[in-house]
Structures are given as structure tokens and as C-alpha cells.
């Protein structure tokens, strides 16, 4: 039996329809209706008029941006050394950085919790710090991998050319290495920033009671308030869409970078 291309698409089309398109419309419907099913902008207005929800949004951003910056600060030098040095054991090293991804997430965070407790005593006293540590730990491989890939394909002769034209080692990095690794930085940021805005499981497990976007949605749904929960999901979706658009604009010049994100 032979399949043509259209037929091969059917399983995914069904999946798309059931799990992507349909839920999107359900969210849209709930977001713009009240409990009785009447069309309303009330949910939207209440999100932006409540200091509570805006505070959560700001806190989520602060947490996500801090996590991303910490990840970047640790991952860039690491990826640089792994990719550019002549280390013979670099694949083993790279594997060590990626291996945590193969270990169950809950197990990892529970272990982290014990370590932090041993160091800090009462871990509930440092909710923001601990959440950043937890998320950094969780998302680090997603930052290292794209950085490693983009730094590794950097042609050595470009660095030599820059040296040849009078750049010292610092300028070579600033004017050649860094700009050429921007696609890797962008996809690393996208991979870390967006999930860390919503990943409230890490916060829960580390006794951080502050809400982030994810936990906010969860709390509404727990109280069967589908309408407000859907509205916040929709707002988050729009924010993510905007962030993606902006970051893609930065990496527009490099086709590889764009492919990695969308």
C-alpha cells in the first residue's frame, strides 16, 4: 500500500486539530465570556486592574529574566571552552552538562532542595534566590546546547582574520565571536526565558509561595474559574508571541537561528 504526502499528514492533522486548534478556541471562548456564557471584556479588565495579577506578571518576568541571565553567564563561558578548546575529553564534558536532562525532574529538584536546606537551613527564607537556583539547574542544558552548536561551527580562520587585521583577543571576541554566536544566544534565551515564566512546580517544591504566571493560572482553574484562567493563558500566549517576534528580529540575519526557534 502506498501513501501519498497528503495521507501521511493525516495523523498529525488530527492531532493538531484535537490538541492545538480546538483548545485554542476553547480558551478564546472562555476568556471572553463570563460564568453564564455572556460575551464580556471583564476578564481582561480585571487582569490589568488588579495589582495582584500585575504583581505576579512582574515577579514572573523578574524571575525568568534573572534565571536567563544567570544561565547565560554560566553557559557562555562553558560552551566557549567546550567548543573552542582542543580538549580531548570535551565530548565527555558536554555529556556531563547534558546528562541532568536524563534524570527525572522531580528527583533532581528534591535533591536540590535537600542540598539547599543543608546550606541555608530554612529554605523558605530565600524564595527568589532558591527559585533562580532551581530553574537555572533545570534549564542549563537548554542554554548550553544552542550556544555550543553556534560556537562550534565558528570558522577558526575568521578569528585569525580578525587578529590579522589588528584586533587583540578581546576585540576579536567582541567583534567576531560574540556577533556570530548571537543566533545561539537567542535560541538559548528563548529556550530558558519562556518556560521559566510558567514553571511553578520548581517554586512549589522549593517552598516559594509567591505566584508566577503558571501558578496563577493553576489557582484559578483549581477554583473552577475557567474564564479568568483562560484569559491569563491567552495573555501569556500573546506575551510569548511578542517575545518570540522580537528575538527573531534580532537573529533575522542568520537563517539557522530562526529555524531553531520557530
Amino acid at each position: 500500500m502506498k501513501f501519498n504526502r497528503k495521507q501521511l499528514c493525516i495523523p498529525y492533522a488530527v492531532f493538531l486539530l484535537l490538541f492545538v486548534i480546538a483548545p485554542l478556541f476553547v480558551i478564546l471562548y472562555y476568556a471572553f465570556t463570563d460564568g453564564e456564557g455572556q460575551f464580556t471584556f471583564e476578564n481582561l479588565v480585571s487582569f490589568f486592574s488588579s495589582t495582584n495579577t500585575i504583581g505576579t506578571l512582574v515577579y514572573s518576568f523578574a524571575l525568568a529574566i534573572t534565571t536567563t541571565l544567570v544561565c547565560l553567564a554560566i553557559a557562555y563561558p562553558t560552551a566557549y571552552i567546550l567548543a573552542r578548546s582542543g580538549l580531548k575529553k570535551k565530548y565527555a564534558l558536554l555529556l556531563l552538562f547534558i546528562m541532568p536532562m536524563w534524570i527525572n525532574f522531580t528527583l533532581r529538584i528534591t535533591a536540590l532542595k535537600e542540598i539547599l536546606t543543608a546550606i541555608e537551613g530554612n529554605i523558605a527564607a530565600y524564595p527568589f534566590l532558591n527559585s533562580v537556583i532551581g530553574m537555572t539547574y533545570d534549564f542549563m542544558p537548554f542554554m548550553i546546547l544552542p550556544l555550543y552548536t553556534s560556537l562550534q561551527k565558528l570558522d577558526n580562520s575568521l578569528l585569525e582574520a580578525a587578529r590579522d587585521l589588528g584586533a587583540n583577543k578581546f576585540k576579536v571576541f567582541m567583534r567576531v565571536t560574540l556577533p556570530l554566536s548571537v543566533p545561539g544566544i537567542i535560541s538559548g534565551i528563548t529556550m530558558v526565558l519562556l518556560p521559566s515564566m510558567t514553571n511553578y512546580v520548581v517554586l512549589d517544591m522549593l517552598y516559594n509561595s509567591t505566584y508566577i504566571m503558571g501558578s496563577l493560572i493553576g489557582s484559578f482553574f483549581n477554583h473552577y474559574d475557567w474564564n479568568n484562567g483562560s484569559m491569563i493563558s491567552l495573555i501569556l500566549l500573546v506575551i510569548i508571541f511578542i517575545v518570540t517576534l522580537v528575538t527573531n528580529r534580532f537573529s533575522d540575519k542568520d537563517d539557522n537561528g530562526r529555524g531553531a526557534i520557530l
Binding site: S157, L158, A161, D164, L165, G166, P179
Partner: protein, 501 residues
């Protein structure tokens, strides 16, 4: 006189981490404004030498002087030298303008000012935007790419990228421009055009060019001075005419242009015998000296049978555009002739060579000499191999007893294990085999030269890079891995003078 040398390499040697010697004993002087070409087969060390001048590699020993100052350990950004890379190495994130302006933006120039009191003082300053603009524009004019400023690198053809790479280097007004096989990636027609353009550019700019290529024609066309390199060593330095007309050894003769190379012997004052005939020559060698004879195909003149020194049958005639390439069989020798005259295949022709068309050179290799050690099995180890040999040849009248001990003519019993010997093997005595286990040593063919009736091969072993020279009529290829077979009786042993230990 050394003052006029812009760059001077003194005893430069480069050994890489894996202990391969890339460049050895490299001595070269380049005068200001010269066009110097490093010519050699790939892997000969020419690019490594260029990289040492640029500063990407540091010499293991020796000195590099620029205008008399030692720059051997200076980083590349501190050298007034710019490079055009083999694969251009243009920055993909910058457009044509920014690529060319890259070096200018990093540059600091010393400007002199007068303060209010009238004293002059100097300041190190960046170039202004206007100055950079003007320089980039001029560089683009030189490489014939006006109006390409805003183009991104990816949209340019190979030839255009090449031009941007050249503009990016010359815009900095370097004292020396280094070019690492810059035309290698271009097609033939483009390459020829760029050769002429580069030569013109060199004339106009007055910058010293050091050019690396493996293309002998390119080297001859463009250079003032050619440095022929093989296996990390300079073979010959000279003008293109000198290199072509007076090659110092068979490698140069074979690498530059086409040649007929024969083994010959000096048979009288300015008389040499090869291919079974005697010729007058201009090179003066001692009587009976064995020589390599090089005759360029265009120096052989076809004449009526019986008139020239040689007579032979035409095997094939191929039209090559300007000339015919004619292969002639003279006895067991094969001779190539380039001539504008046609010769009918199958016909017998005469050939004449004028004395100045015959180039004699001392042969580099006539015999293989090694230092060896006798093992306990009465074999001999030398040149990364172990061969069966006749140890009785060391002591006249001796023989081996049943236990393998040597008994001399006087009846003395000797254990030769560990005895150091000198080993000589004639180049014709060695045969090559595909079967790895057949011979006593294994290696890779690193060079082959056709000598009219046989090939001369150099086989290099892997472990200690020992070279064997082999004369053999069979055709093998460079880079073939072969096993070397030497018959027992062809290994000539002699005892080394006793050491005092």
C-alpha cells in the same frame, strides 16, 4: 645590504605538537617591493611558513626579522602584515563595507597638533569616519567593486568575495601582503584574470607580496622570486627563469614544467652519456661522476634519422594547442618532445639536443645507507624494518654453526647479537609489494619521478620516517602503502668501526 631586506627568515624551524617537522632550516631574504612565491606540493610546509610570517604559528626555533627587528614572537595584530586567506575568511555578519573597514576601525594613527603655546604634541587617534570612507572607497576601486558597499557577503560570487578579501587586506596598507593560495577556489578562466590583476595591483601598490601556491604556472607567471619547497626544506630560490632553466635537482625539474629525467654519467670533459648516446654539455663535472640529466621537452629538436644524437620510433603524437606532445621510444627509454612540427606515429625520427638544453645535476640518492643492528636470529634491523641477511659476509671465510653462532675462519665462535653495522642497499635491489607481510619494512610512497626507462620512488616508513630510494620499472602511485622486499644477498653489511665502550 641586509637593510634593504623587508623580511628575513633565519634558520626557521617549526615542529608541531605531534613531532612532525613542518619546516626546517628555512633561510630567506625578501627585498622591499618583491613578489615572492612559495611553491611546493601540498603539505610541503609553505603555508606553515606563511603562517609564521603572519604570526598565527610561532617558530620552534630561528628568527623572523621585519625591517631588521625580531618579530618572531609578536602576535598577529602587532605585525604590519595582512593576509588574504585561502577561503577568504570574510565576516558573514558584516557587509562588504564593514568587512573592508574592519582593520581601519581598529587602527590608531599618530597625529601631531600644536597647542596654544605653539608647542607641538602628538595624539593617538582613531581614523575619522570620513577617512575610513575614503580609504574603503579607494580599496573598492582598486579591486574593481565600486558600488558593492552595502552588499552582504553571502550574495557575492567566489571571484567577488576574493576581491573583497584582497581589498580588506590592502586597505590597511600593510608592509607585506601574504596570500595563501588565494586563487585556488576559482575556475581556470577567473584564475588567469586574477593572476594578471594581482600582478598589476602589486606593481601599482608597491607592497611586498608573499604568495603561496602549488601551481607552478601561477608561480612562474607572477613572481619576481620563486622559493621551491619540498618536505619542509627549501629546494631552490631563484627567478622564474632560473628555476625553470637551471633546476638544482630532479625534484625542482620535475615539479616545474615538464621534464625528461635520465640517469647519466660524465664520460669526458663536458661530455655526458645518457639514453645510450654521448652529448656535449655545459655543466662541468668530474669524470665518471654519476649524474641526473634533465632535458626539457621543448629543447629536443626533431631532425632526420641519423642526424641527431638519438634515433627513435614515434609512439604517439598529441595536439596540445600551441605544440604537439610527441612520445618517442629510444631503445628502452621513453622521451617526451614538445614541438610545433608534427611527427607521424610509427615513423623513425632523429633527435638533437643542444649543449645548453642539457642540465646535469648531482644525484641526491644513488644508494640507500642505513645504520643497523644484528638481531639474535642473524637478521638485521634497519630503517624501521627487519630483514634477513647474510652475516657471514661480515667475516671473510666464516660460516654459521648449527646453533646459529658465527664461526670465523680461525674457528672463533662469535655471538653477533647487538652488533652495529652499516647497511648499503642499491636502489635497484629493492622491490615493492602490496602484501604487507612480504617485505621487511613498510612505508608510503612520498615521491616518484620518471627517469625515461624506470621510476625513482622514495618510500617513507611511518615510525621513524626513514626514507628508502627505489629504482623500479613498475608503475606505482604516490601515497601507495607498500612493503619493501630486499633479497638477502643484496643487503651489503659492513662492521662499524669499534667504539670505545
Amino acid at each position: 645590504m641586509t637593510d634593504s631586506n623587508i623580511i628575513e627568515l633565519i634558520d626557521v624551524r617549526k615542529v608541531f605538537d605531534d613531532e612532525t617537522v613542518a619546516v626546517d632550516n628555512f633561510n630567506l631574504q625578501v627585498k622591499k617591493g618583491e613578489f615572492v612565491t612559495f611553491l611546493g606540493p601540498s603539505g610541503c610546509g609553505k603555508t606553515t611558513t606563511l603562517r609564521m610570517i603572519a604570526g598565527f604559528d610561532l617558530p620552534t626555533s630561528g628568527k623572523i626579522l621585519l625591517n631588521g627587528k625580531d618579530i618572531s614572537n609578536l602576535p598577529p595584530n602587532k605585525r604590519p602584515v595582512n593576509t588574504v586567506f585561502q577561503k577568504y575568511a570574510l565576516f558573514p555578519h558584516l557587509n562588504v563595507y564593514e568587512n573592508i573597514a574592519f582593520g581601519l576601525r581598529l587602527k590608531r594613527v599618530v597625529n601631531t597638533y600644536k597647542n596654544d603655546a605653539g608647542d607641538s604634541y602628538t595624539k593617538k587617534e582613531r581614523l575619522t569616519k570620513k577617512e575610513i570612507d575614503a580609504k574603503v572607497k579607494k580599496a573598492l576601486e582598486i579591486v574593481d567593486l565600486e558600488g558593492f558597499e552595502k552588499r552582504s557577503i553571502g550574495t557575492l560570487s567566489g571571484g567577488q568575495q576574493q576581491r573583497v578579501a584582497i581589498a580588506r587586506a590592502i586597505v590597511n596598507e600593510p608592509e607585506i601582503l601574504l596570500l595563501d593560495e588565494p586563487l585556488g577556489a576559482l575556475d581556470l578562466k577567473m584564475r588567469k584574470e586574477m593572476q594578471v590583476e594581482l600582478k598589476n595591483m602589486h606593481r601599482r601598490l608597491g607592497i611586498t607580496f608573499i604568495y603561496v601556491t602549488h601551481d607552478q604556472e601561477e608561480a612562474l607567471t607572477m613572481s619576481d622570486k620563486v622559493v621551491v619547497i619540498n618536505d619542509g626544506d627549501i629546494q631552490q630560490i631563484g627567478t622564474p627563469t632560473e628555476i625553470y632553466n637551471e633546476p638544482v635537482n630532479t625534484f625542482v625539474a620535475d615539479f616545474i614544467g615538464e621534464s625528461n629525467i635520465f640517469n647519466g654519467a660524465v664520460v669526458g670533459k663536458l661530455k655526458v652519456k645518457f639514453c645510450g648516446a654521448t652529448f656535449d654539455c655545459v655543466d662541468d663535472f668530474e669524470l665518471n661522476q654519476l649524474v641526473d640529466v634533465v632535458v626539457r621537452p621543448e629543447d629536443i629538436i626533431i631532425c632526420k634519422p641519423g642526424e641527431g644524437q638519438l634515433k627513435g620510433k614515434v609512439v604517439s603524437t598529441v595536439f596540445k594547442g600551441v605544440h604537439y606532445e610527441i612520445t618517442v621510444e629510444v631503445g628502452r627509454y621513453e622521451i617526451i618532445i614538445q614541438s610545433t612540427a608534427y611527427a607521424e606515429p610509427g615513423k623513425v625520427i632523429g633527435m638533437r639536443v643542444e649543449p645548453d638544453g642539457i642540465h646535469l645535476m648531482k644525484p641526491v640518492y644513488t644508494i640507500n645507507r642505513f645504520e643497523g643492528v644484528i638481531t639474535k636470529n642473524n637478521t638485521v634491523e634497519f630503517g624501521d624494518g627487519e630483514f634477513e641477511c647474510d652475516v657471514t659476509s661480515l667475516y671473510p671465510g666464516s660460516r654459521l654453526d648449527d646453533e646459529g653462532y658465527l664461526v670465523t675462519a680461525a674457528g672463533e665462535k662469535l655471538d653477533l647479537t647487538g652488533t652495529k653495522v652499516n647497511v648499503e642497499v642499491d636502489t635497484h635491489a629493492i622491490t615493492m609489494s602490496d602484501d604487507k607481510d612480504e617485505g621487511g619494512a613498510q612505508g608510503t610512497i612520498i615521491s616518484m619521478i620518471y627517469k625515461g626507462d624506470h621510476y625513482r620512488y622514495i618510500v617513507r616508513t611511518e615510525e621513524n620516517e626513514e626514507d628508502y630510494v627505489i629504482s623500479c620499472p613498475d608503475m606505482w602511485n604516490t601515497d601507495d602503502f607498500v612493503s619493501l622486499v630486499i633479497p638477502k644477498e643484496k643487503i651489503k653489511l659492513s662492521l662499524k668501526p669499534a667504539e670505545n665502550d
